[in-house]
């Protein structure tokens, strides 16, 4: 693994290796002194062409815990339109001798493009509507922790390494909402299905992309049908501009038919996990009651955020820190 650009193009073995490493790093996050010298002397540049708080902070924290320098560059959209091409920005950064580039960009494929210009590993922190691989990896880790490790059935494989590591066979994950514009939904499809989970996309047909039925998923327009017997329910953020684009009649109607509420969750399995990549629109794609995990609902957004740091530590470590990664460089 030379870069982390998309889960679709990442080997399943590499997905397992990142998760395995993340589990090891999680232990560090539980220590009172959260600092290791792992990446001392290394520097990570986070280049963000879109506003983001949690993803950028998560990467910065991951770098700092491992003693790497983290430099953030937030490029305002205005200066992009003023002139400097993406390529030139990348070549400038390259000359600043960073050891790893973490990129968030509004254009699908930007991370892949960047990987052609810079010599250092590129981590895709979200490109357009394409992929957001570290988000899916943290989602997978969260699902595995809550649905596999915590399971009472002792015969279930919980291996951390080998062919069956992080096996999610038998689990059904319903991703609900604006999947058409969601890079999180796409990355999750590839990651989850590679590990054996069944994935559903649930939402109004105007928010389901063309030919979705050719992906390894099932599509549901009806929320309750889509949630039926699901082990995990993942709600996606709805951007209000979808109304202006004529894709939805109103927030009101959307919330009425597709909001993940306590009532709708009754269709899912008891103990179903509720997830959200954040930031949430309470009362739109997820009800406040569900978001707060009231009434026995297992909302695990907190775990997702913590696991995000562990997963990003693992990615940084494997791509720039470990001898293993260097010796297994694949172009």
């Amino acid at each position: 693994m030379r870069h982390l650009l998309s889960l679709r193009t990442t080997d399943t073995a590499d997905i397992r290796r990142i998760l395995e490493t993340a589990v090891a790093f999680k232990e560090i996050l539980e220590r009172p002194v959260k600092k290791t010298p792992t990446l001392r002397g290394r520097s990570v540049v986070t280049l963000f062409y879109e506003p983001s708080t949690r993803t950028r902070t998560s990467f910065e924290l991951a770098a700092k815990i491992m003693s790497a320098e983290a430099v953030n560059i937030t490029v305002a959209q205005s200066s992009v339109t003023k002139g400097e091409s993406f390529k030139d920005t990348l070549l400038t950064l390259q000359s600043l001798t960073a050891d790893c580039l973490v990129l968030r960009h509004p254009s699908s494929g930007a991370a892949e493009l960047a990987s052609r210009y810079v010599r250092v590993p590129v981590i895709n922190a979200g490109d357009g509507c394409h992929e957001h691989p570290t988000q899916a990896l943290l989602d997978i880790l969260t699902i595995w922790e809550h649905k596999v490790v915590g399971r009472e059935d002792d015969t279930y494989p919980r291996a951390l390494s080998g062919e069956h590591a992080f096996d999610l066979t038998g689990l059904t994950v319903a991703i609900v909402g604006d999947v058409a514009h969601s890079r999180v939904a796409r990355s999750n499809v590839w990651g989850l299905t590679r590990l054996g989970a069944t994935v559903r996309w649930v939402g109004p047909s105007t928010l389901i992309p063309a030919d979705a039925n050719r992906l390894p998923i099932s599509v549901y327009n009806d929320l309750r049908e889509g949630l039926r017997d699901a082990d995990v329910v993942m709600a996606l953020r709805l951007q209000t501009e979808r109304m202006e684009q004529g894709l939805l009649p109103s927030l009101r109607e959307y919330a009425r038919y597709w909001c993940v509420t306590a009532d709708a969750l009754k269709c899912a399995k008891p103990n179903a996990l509720v997830m959200h990549p954040g930031p949430m629109n309470r009362g739109v794609e997820i009800s406040s009651e569900v978001a707060d995990g009231g009434g026995g609902i297992r909302a695990v957004m907190g775990s997702q955020v913590t696991n995000g740091v562990a997963v990003r530590m693992a990615c940084l470590y494997l791509l720039m820190g470990s001898g293993i990664a260097q010796s297994e460089v694949r172009e």
Binding site: F86, G128, C129, E131, R214
Partner: protein
């Protein structure tokens, strides 16, 4: 190009002469005198003059491309008339029709004259300007089409800026009809493709790119055919890419309408899967479509529904294509690969006979616009292409005569390549 004097008598000796306009396929000597074709004689009997031995080679009417962006004036960093016509000659083309989206656009007689003069000075192929339908391709006020025609425009089109307003299109067609001008349309209902970067479908979905649905082409083609029926305008459908547009053209022809259509090699060689890896060299408009569309295009070439193969040669500089996929411009070059792609993918696979392939690339286009050429009949201009059908070659970015290298076929092995062309009785080495 060569600046030598045109020889009084030029003989291409001993080649396999294929001329679809005369249903001719035989080995012989092609004789040209004073820039015109005079006769085809048995091999070895061509007589005196400048003799070029072309034994074992294919001799055809010079190819004619109805759809080329030469970029001059205004975008000479992408291509100019000299480099574009050199690319044409390297592909076996002796004539190209150039689209009006230059700067200034070809919407005044003086720009038409400028292009014709430049082509006269530096052209390695004939250049036939296609003028804009509306001023500045702004889709509101009609351009001075009578004047443009008088200055030498062979057809009109707003190609890349398709007229969305049906009333404007109707009046443009009425105006063209009285002038006997062919109106060429890029068929795209823009409200369905806004922000789109590639064909709508599986690949766009997994890449997270905004799609352009096939019906956007079908709807616009249908509207344009209906308006052509109303106005009696001679309509030519540019770069057809969908099964739907093929069906519409077929139906219009069955009804006896004077509608013609062209497609380009990328629409039968590639599908939207070529955009994988965010390959901006596979980004053009209309976009690469699906397997079903490729099958329909191939079928329509074989059954004659599609009249011509054009290239939509659209050069862009490397820095323009080296961008985020959604920001990169639409367009691919095609002049230097069109013949080989036709020969390799259609003739060798038995879809088109060699003669009908040549027909789609020369006689067919000439007929559509009533251009001279596309034939080796006595009296025709001595515009000839000579190909080596044995040559296997690999498409390489540094070998193009075009200033740009934005081809989706880089690295592909193809068979068949132009050796030289004859333009008005004068040899143009490639």
């Amino acid at each position: 190009m060569t600046h030598e004097r045109t020889p009084d008598r030029l003989i291409l000796a001993g080649g396999r002469i294929v001329d679809p306009s005369q249903s001719l396929d035989r080995v012989g000597d092609l004789v040209m005198e004073n820039g015109r074709i005079t006769q085809i004689l048995p091999p070895g009997t061509g007589g005196a003059g400048v003799v070029r031995n072309v034994e074992g080679k294919l001799v055809t009417p010079g190819l004619i491309d109805l759809h080329v962006h030469l970029r001059e004036p205004g975008f000479e960093y992408k291509e100019d008339i000299e480099s574009g016509t050199r690319a044409a000659a390297a592909g076996g083309f002796t004539a190209v029709c150039c689209m009006p989206n230059t700067n200034p656009p070809i919407d005044t007689a003086s720009t038409v004259r400028y292009i014709l003069e430049r082509a006269q000075e530096v052209g390695a192929a004939r250049v036939y300007p296609v003028a804009a339908v509306t001023r500045g391709m702004g889709a509101s006020q009609l351009s001075e089409m009578a004047d443009l025609k008088a200055a030498g425009a062979v057809a009109v089109s707003d190609d890349a800026f398709p007229i969305q307003n049906a009333e404007t299109m109707r009046r443009a067609m009425e105006y063209c009809a009285q002038l006997g001008l062919v109106l060429m349309t890029h068929n795209e209902e823009k409200s369905l493709t806004e922000g789109g970067a590639m064909n709508e479908g599986y690949t766009a979905t997994i890449l997270g790119l905004r799609g352009m649905p096939r019906v956007a082409e079908d709807i616009a083609a249908a509207r344009n055919i209906f308006l052509a029926a109303l106005t009696g305008c001679r309509l030519h459908l540019l770069h057809m890419s969908t099964a739907g547009t093929v069906r519409l053209l077929q139906r219009a022809k069955c009804e006896g309408m004077p509608v013609t259509g062209e497609t380009a090699p990328h629409y039968w060689c590639l599908t939207d899967a070529a955009c994988e890896g965010f390959n901006t060299n596979a980004k053009m408009n209309p976009p690469l479509r699906t397997d079903a569309d490729v099958a329909a295009i191939i079928h329509a070439l074989a059954d004659g529904t599609i009249d011509a193969i054009a290239t939509d040669h659209a050069p862009h500089a490397a820095h323009e294509k080296d961008q985020e996929f959604d920001r990169a411009p639409f367009g691919v070059i095609g002049l230097e690969t069109a013949f080989a792609l036709t020969y390799t993918h259609l003739v060798q696979r038995g879809i088109l006979s060699l003669s009908s392939a040549i027909e789609k690339l020369s006689t067919g286009p000439a007929r559509i616009l009533g251009l001279p050429g596309g034939t080796l009949a006595p009296g025709a201009p001595a515009d000839v292409a000579v190909f080596d059908l044995q040559e296997e070659w690999t498409v390489a970015p540094d070998e193009f005569r075009s200033k740009s290298a934005n081809s989706p076929f880089l690295g592909q092995k193809l068979i068949g390549r132009a050796v030289f062309t004859v333009l008005g009785g004068r040899i143009v080495e490639v």
